[in-house]
């Protein structure tokens, strides 16, 4: 027998309790990992390549207020601007579906390759998109979901504009962080719905990252004191501003995480206290046999740490496997496209488990340290 055998045998002495303890730690850490990943996905959405060169321009009053199409000519003249495209929300529902399962935006097909260069599509797709007014390009995820291929036609019922539009698939793109969107032509929207001269917002691309502050300032300045003042900002700032509209999610998730960890500490500490209390007599015997306080503390700590570590491996492992190999889009009904369990989140969760193991051992260890051999032995007879 070795010391570690002794610790393992003690930890597994009450198998049901050990199983329940490990399960509670595993479930809590699974939840903690999930919350941390969700928080990360919400507050730090994945950045596409080229994001550092893109600028979002929206109405200063609100994202829902449209902008006049005439602004484009002014924006294009600003030095450092490489390309500009309108970006108008259509809000279409597919084949009478209850909600919108993917977003649709009207864009300029000629600027698509420049402004959204991370969207990879074959040359035929770009050609079709440029030549056919009713065409659209579909993200790979949406195309696969609805079994749509190049040449297929489908109808979207708009929730923003009156009526429906029929689209023809010109190409299928991939390579963006969210390959679900559908992009169609602004001129098709204008012609079909009779609302020429208005766009939802602008996306533009600057030539160099160093140009970004100057260009955004210039765009903002260009429309000051007009009927449609704008707010130009980097893609990153735009995304974060968009997320801010959801409320203080960070504080909410942090609060839930704290409650999870706190509950976990109580559960584990209670388990360890019970385990040690049951063995108080035996610990007194061990002391009488010559085991010192630090050795008994090491036994308790190792047992507590072991239970936490085992639970953590299961909880973090299951979360990692589920979110890495599972279909997160399906699991979250499309709310999240990616759900990455990063090394940082794994490390943080493992650290929580380690601290948990140590904290849970403190109270029972103190009780054992304070216990005199005589008092312990008195409980025997």
């Amino acid at each position: 027998m070795t010391i570690s055998t002794f610790i393992v045998k003690n930890a597994l002495r009450n198998k049901r309790r050990a199983f329940l303890s490990v399960s509670s730690v595993a479930a809590s850490l699974f939840l903690l990992v999930t919350l941390q990943v969700a928080l990360r996905e919400l507050t730090q959405p994945p950045e596409s390549s080229g994001a550092e060169l893109r600028v979002a321009v929206r109405n200063k009053i609100s994202l829902t207020n449209p902008l006049p199409a005439r602004q484009r000519a002014i924006i294009e003249k600003i030095p450092g601007v490489e390309g500009v495209t309108p970006f108008t929300w259509f809000g279409g529902k597919y084949k009478g579906e209850e909600g919108m399962s993917f977003a649709q935006f009207a864009v300029d097909p000629k600027a698509l390759g420049t402004v959204f260069s991370d969207a990879k599509m074959d040359a035929a797709g770009y050609k079709n998109f440029n030549e056919q007014k009713d065409s659209c390009v579909l993200g790979k995820i949406t195309a696969e979901k609805y079994h749509l291929k190049v040449g297929d036609r489908f109808v979207l019922d708009s929730t923003v504009y009156p009526g429906s539009l029929t689209f023809r698939v010109a190409g299928i793109y991939s390579g963006t962080p969210d390959d679900r969107n559908m992009l169609f032509r602004q001129d098709y929207l204008d012609d079909s719905l009779g609302v020429p001269g208005q766009v939802g917002m602008w996306w533009l691309k600057v030539k160099f990252a160093d140009d970004m502050p100057r260009v955004t300032a210039a765009v903002n300045q260009a429309f000051e004191n007009t009927s449609a003042e704008v707010r130009a900002e980097s893609e990153r700032a735009f995304q974060l501003g968009f997320l801010a509209m959801l409320g203080n999610i960070k504080a909410l998730v942090a609060s839930i995480s704290t409650v999870v960890v706190f509950t976990l500490v109580l559960v584990t500490a209670s388990t360890m206290s019970m385990a040690v209390r049951e063995r108080f007599r035996e610990l007194a015997i061990l002391k009488a046999l010559g085991f010192r306080r630090r050795e008994l503390f090491a036994f308790i700590l190792a047992e507590s740490f072991g239970l936490s570590a085992f639970g953590a491996i299961i909880g973090i492992g299951v979360a990692y496997c589920a979110y890495t190999f599972g279909d997160i889009g399906k699991m979250t009904h499309g709310i999240f496209v990616t759900f990455e369990v990063t090394p940082r989140i794994i490390g943080f969760s493992a650290l929580v488990a380690a601290v948990l193991g140590i904290v849970s051992a403190i109270a029972p260890s103190l009780a054992v340290a304070r216990m005199s051999v005589v008092n312990g032995l008195k409980t025997l007879d």
Binding site: F6, L289, L377
Partner: protein, 226 residues
């Protein structure tokens, strides 16, 4: 002469504080215990016999007085030194056996050896010897619940002597046993004294058990009476 004694106690007093009142557990006790002696410590409940045993074994401290065991004044050692000293010099036997239920007989006997520098094979060898001495070699892999009371107590004796201490202290070792098992256990203790030269101090209420000792002393109200 003190050199021939394994235990030398001088003017040992132990007071307990119970609320506002001091209770005298031991009152100015002086006692010599010779090497290879089997001392039966008798007396009514509350007479201080267990307290005396605990002080000799280094698990309790006196209020005043001296307690030399193998030349070491155990009252002067700190907690850590006492733990080491107990491991190397004292074997404990308790009334309720107190074996660890999840460990086999051999593993229970091996426990005190985990604190020594012995390697695994050396530990196994000593465990086998100790179990053989108490006649339980064939029960080495049994869990305590698979043993009779007498066998459990013999495993506890093996655990007490596995580190080869000169002194074995036993607190009512036959208190939980039937008369047959008690005879077996006392026989083992007796042979340990005779054959291995161990010094045994045994607390007991039972005159028949005390008769196995080479000397009997009585404590009453914290004082030696005979």
């Amino acid at each position: 002469m003190a050199a021939e004694n394994i235990v030398t106690i001088r003017n040992l007093t132990k007071l307990y504080r119970q609320g506002e009142i001091d209770v005298t557990a031991l009152n100015n006790v002086s006692l010599d215990i010779a090497a290879a002696e089997f001392l039966a410590l008798m007396g009514p409940s509350g007479s201080g016999k267990s307290t005396l045993l605990h002080i000799i074994a280094g698990v309790d401290r006196p209020t005043s007085g001296e307690c030399l065991v193998q030349g070491v004044d155990v009252t002067k050692l700190n907690e850590s030194q006492l733990a080491d000293w107990r491991n190397q010099n004292v074997g404990f036997i308790f009334q309720t056996f107190n074996l660890i239920p999840v460990l086999t007989a051999a593993e229970n006997v091996e426990l005190p050896l985990l604190l020594t520098q012995l390697n695994r094979s050396q530990r196994r060898k000593q465990v086998a010897t100790a179990l053989e001495l108490v006649g339980l070699s064939d029960r080495a892999k049994h869990l305590p619940r698979q043993l009779s009371g007498g066998q459990e107590q013999r495993v506890a004796i093996a655990r007490a002597l596995v580190t080869d201490p000169k002194l074995i202290v036993a607190d009512e070792p036959t208190g939980n046993l039937d008369s047959h098992s008690a005879q077996e256990v006392l026989g083992v203790l007796q042979s340990l004294r005779k054959d291995a030269g161990k010094t045994i101090i045994m607390v007991t209420h039972d005159p028949k058990a005390a008769a196995f000792g080479t000397r009997q002393i009585h404590l009453e109200k914290g004082e030696l009476t005979a």
